[in-house]
């Protein structure tokens, strides 16, 4: 273990690695600060650049983007009351209030400091959990993997979208898209309809860029009016040590909540931020200050959304199952290099896993150091007009998708899925659930079929193996519970209205 850390550190501290982590963090802060551009979009835009990098460097850079974006989104949340990404949506309540009171620097500083604390803590939890979990996962056979993937998909689809039916439809369509290409067992082409380019399946990177980034460009471009201009001159006085200490309780809560939420598939910075804000208020000594410029009201969501970053890597690294868009993109970067995360990665390429651990710590420290200086350049770029920015992203997406395989077809896939993603979001379906299902689809099908090959077609392998059974039962509960709850609430509602009738 110590040996592996030394190996990881030797990679992460190489000058080129440090440079790319720094670039990732700055790109992340910028992307986070830009309204509409979320951390995962900023990551997706860099994906095509990673094909020429060493996989460890690519992962560290993307993790840097993820970390930086969680802080960056608070900049615009505090200064113009528009969260750069939904992860900082809870920050506007008190952050913008502080800005109005002329304490912008204090709010931004609290966001940066508590975010760093949250981020660093979550990396420690990641290291503590991922290594033993991966050892457990090594013993998993196909039935356990089948249980795990459908449990993950059940959570993701049922959390996605306003309606559970639509979330599930998004997931199933993702699984359907994953079946396009060569059948993993017999090798015959499926659903390619004679198109040779589809033999290898729908390119995941192009799909992610289309569903995440292109759909967002369409949404932003269609919106009338532009973003509020950010005033470059803001009160830059940083928080004092006493002010930082006064948020200790909220920061602790936020950090723990964020880490746990991050580990859960389907939930991310947004949910973590809101839960942390509510809990921070509940446990605060001065809850009445919340909403009127409470420092704790900034510390709780901002420590939480940064703590999500480490948590989100736990299921990805230990089991190879991404639970969020950001984790899905990291997985995409690995697959671009012909690697798959999961327990075998710890065995075969410990350098990649351990350098990511060290790289994430470095990323958090880079964020702490550059986070404050970088606010001004960020504001300058946010103030660039929206038409120029959106057109630039579209051009970047086009070249980037082309560069993945030197193939114009990938650009078409990204564009078409961009339109699909736009329509899905317009009608309350979930592109995120679809992407995650596209990634997991291969695993669901192969683990199901492999299980039945091993057991000679006897489905008992799914209920005689305790872990597989537990996971499948959990998946069923996840799917059935919301329906029972909806029926119950319906009944309660009817009872309440009856006397009135």
């Amino acid at each position: 273990m110590l040996h592996n850390f030394m190996l990881g550190a030797s990679i992460a501290f190489a000058p080129m690695s440090l440079l790319f982590i720094l670039f990732g963090v700055l790109w992340g802060i910028l992307g986070g600060a830009l309204p509409g551009i979320t951390g995962s979009i900023a990551m997706a835009l860099l994906l095509p650049l990673t094909f020429s990098m060493a996989p460890s460097v690519a992962l560290m850079m993307l993790a840097g983007v993820y970390i930086g974006a969680m802080y960056g989104s608070s900049i615009t949340a505090i200064l113009i009351r528009t969260p750069g990404a939904p992860a900082s949506a809870a920050t506007i309540f008190d952050g913008y209030e502080l800005h109005k009171q002329g304490r912008s620097g204090v709010a931004l500083g609290i966001s940066l400091y508590t975010g760093t604390i949250g981020g660093l803590f979550s990396v420690v939890v990641l290291i503590a959990l991922a290594v033993p979990l991966a050892n457990v996962a090594l013993a998993f056979g196909p039935p356990e993997y089948f249980g795990m993937t459908i449990f993950g998909l059940a959570i993701i689809s049922s959390l996605a979208g306003k309606s559970m039916v639509k979330g599930l439809i998004s997931g199933v369509v993702g699984l359907i898209l994953a079946t396009v290409g060569m059948d993993p067992f017999s090798g015959i082409p499926r659903f390619t309809y004679g198109i040779e380019e589809l033999l290898g399946g729908i390119d995941l990177i192009a799909a992610m860029i289309g569903l995440f980034a292109v759909s967002e460009v369409f949404i932003q471009a269609a919106e009338k009016g532009s973003w509020a201009k950010v005033d470059e001159a803001f009160a830059s006085k940083l928080p004092t040590w006493a002010e930082l200490k006064s948020t200790a309780r909220a920061t602790t809560l936020g950090t723990i909540i964020g880490t746990i939420v991050g580990i859960m598939p389907g939930a991310g910075g947004t949910i973590g931020g809101f839960i942390a804000y509510n809990e921070g208020k509940r446990w605060s000594k001065t809850p009445e200050k919340f909403g009127n410029g409470s420092l704790e009201g900034v510390a709780a969501p901002e420590s939480a959304n940064n703590a999500v970053t480490g948590g989100a890597m736990v299921p990805l690294l230990a089991f190879g199952i991404p639970g969020s868009n950001a984790a899905a993109i990291m997985l995409g970067a690995l697959m671009l290099q012909g690697l798959r995360p999961g327990p075998m990665l710890f065995q075969n390429s410990p350098d990649i896993v351990y350098s990511l651990f060290v790289g994430m710590i470095i990323g958090n420290i880079f964020m702490l150091v550059t986070g404050y200086i970088f606010i001004k350049p960020c504001i300058k770029i946010v103030n660039i007009s929206k038409p120029i920015l959106m057109a630039s992203i579209m051009a970047l997406v086009t070249v980037g998708c082309y560069a993945i395989n030197n193939n114009i077809n990938d650009v078409w896939i990204a564009l078409i899925l961009g339109v699909v993603g736009y329509l899905m979001r317009k009608y309350d379906f979930s592109p995120s659930a679809m992407v995650l299902a596209m990634i997991l689809g291969f695993m669901v099908e192969t683990s199901l079929r492999r299980s039945l090959v091993i057991s000679y077609g006897n489905i008992s392998c799914f209920y005689t193996r305790p872990i597989a059974l537990a996971l499948i039962v959990l998946a069923l509960i996840t799917l059935i519970f919301p329906i029972i709850r909806a029926i119950r609430e319906d009944r309660k509602g009817n009872k309440n209205t009856r006397p009135a009738v």
Partner: protein, 168 residues
């Protein structure tokens, strides 16, 4: 009543039928692998058809019960997967269809005119279409960005970008 849900439900039903029919030509399961290539897709087609029917049914039921209930098993609270939210209130269809149309045209033109010319043209037109008034800034930004992308991808990363009919 939300007609969009009914229409989407019907489209999904037709798609699942089409998807299922495509599995008909797959070879049967082999001796060693008892499920075969058609099993999983058939299962997915059935689940999708079921969910599509549920969506249609829910929409009808929601209309019967109360107008505002939406479409079925609505999850309460803010438990939504992030980044799927969509809150554009004031949509310009000129901007929307213009951006989508120009993007498709751009990708089609790349193979003919090459990367450099089509990118500059695309950027200038799109920025203008989105009602950015300053022509000078527009052209400067478009040319600058095209040059940056070219340097990054073609020079630094060594990607062979399409040169088009004028340069090859």
């Amino acid at each position: 009543m939300r007609w969009s849900n009914i229409i989407i439900g019907i489209i999904l039903l037709i798609s699942s039928a089409f998807y299922y029919l495509s599995t008909m030509e797959f070879p049967p399961p082999s001796k060693t692998e008892n499920l075969g290539p058609a099993f999983f897709p058939t299962l997915l087609a059935a689940v999708l058809a079921f969910l599509a029917l549920l969506l249609i049914l829910n929409t009808f039921l929601a209309r019967g019960a109360s107008g505002k209930k939406g479409d079925g098993a609505v999850i309460q609270g803010a438990e939504r997967l992030e980044e799927d939210s969509f809150s554009a209130e004031d949509i310009s269809y000129k901007f929307l269809f213009g951006t989508i149309g120009l993007s498709f045209l751009y990708v089609a033109l790349i193979s003919i005119l090459g990367f450099l010319i089509s990118t500059v043209l695309f950027l200038v037109t799109l920025i203008r279409l989105l009602e950015y008034k300053d022509w000078k800034n527009n052209v400067a930004a478009s040319v600058g960005l095209t040059a940056t992308l070219y340097l990054l991808f073609a020079v630094a990363l060594g990607v062979t970008l399409p040169a088009g009919i004028f340069f090859s």
